[in-house]
């Protein structure tokens, strides 16, 4: 019997999901076994790429990604998008409904980030931020107005949580 492509894709997806969960369990075990204090962070397996390659390397990687993200950001808000290997025009009305969607996404995302912004897993190192899950959701549901709303929401959340700085411009682009 020949299996359908859908079944094969599901099988590959499940294998990847199981491997992903196993990786997270192993990382959690590694962190607990080496100590969960911020001082022990440099010994964890998950932090090794940052420890070995250094801050400058990751700043350079971040810089390149930021430039690409900025180009895509301005491309999208100017009414163009990438389809295949071509840049094509897309219809953006920017009427009252689109602007309302931008405002609602900004309020929901900014509010959710600020209200749920401080649930620490490892104090001083990492937090649970459930509000972040809304960013891709708004982008998928509402398109460019939703993405722009998320960017503004991120900016407002930075102000409310004490992290508004020159880096918030990068956060604005990255969030959208």
């Amino acid at each position: 019997m020949v299996s359908r492509p859908g079944t094969a894709l599901w099988s590959i997806g499940i294998v990847i999901a199981v491997l992903f969960i196993a990786l997270f369990v192993f990382i959690a075990y590694d962190i607990v076994s080496k100590g969960i204090s911020p001082d022990a962070a440099s010994k964890w397996l998950i932090t090794q790429p940052f420890v070995v390659l250094g801050r400058d390397f990751w700043f350079a990687v971040g810089g390149v990604l930021w430039v690409i993200g900025t180009i895509v950001f301005f491309l999208e808000i100017s009414g163009r998008t990438v389809s295949g290997f071509r840049i094509i025009r897309q219809e953006l009305r920017w009427d009252a409904v689109d602007v309302s969607i931008t405002a609602l996404c900004a309020a929901l995302y900014g509010g959710a980030l600020a209200a749920t912004g401080g649930i620490p897993i490892i104090p001083g190192f990492t937090w649970v931020r459930p509000g972040n899950a809304l960013a891709p959701l708004f982008g998928i549901l509402f398109g460019v107005p939703g993405a722009l709303g998320v960017a503004i929401g991120n900016f407002i959340a930075d102000a409310l949580t004490g992290y508004l700085s020159i880096g918030s411009i990068g956060g604005f682009i990255e969030a959208s």
Partner: protein
């Protein structure tokens, strides 16, 4: 105000003024530019209120000894409720 704060306020003002100019010469997207500029400056206003109230910690983040964390949670929920309100408004408008 330091140079970075001036830069951030300037960006918000520039987007707002660009929106006004676009509205004047009737270019599509003026409403979006106006709202983005307005919301950017709203974020800067929140920053100014927090800064001059002494809510920010010198090492970054909020000063835990003040009412800032509780206030941020309350403001966050209020902002979230405003978002839900706008969602209901937009949903009704689209259905009509």
């Amino acid at each position: 105000m330091n140079q970075y704060e001036i830069l951030l306020i300037s960006i918000g003002l520039a987007i707002l003024i660009a929106g006004m100019v676009m509205a004047f010469i009737r270019v599509r997207g003026w409403l979006a530019a106006l709202s983005v500029g307005g919301l950017w400056l709203f974020g800067m206003a929140l920053y100014a209120i927090y800064k001059y109230s002494g809510f920010y910690s010198p090492t970054g983040g909020l000063a835990q000894s003040t009412i800032a964390p509780a206030m941020t949670t309350i403001l966050g929920f209020l902002l979230f409720l405003v978002g839900v309100g706008i969602f209901v408004y937009v949903y009704r408008r689209i259905r009509r």
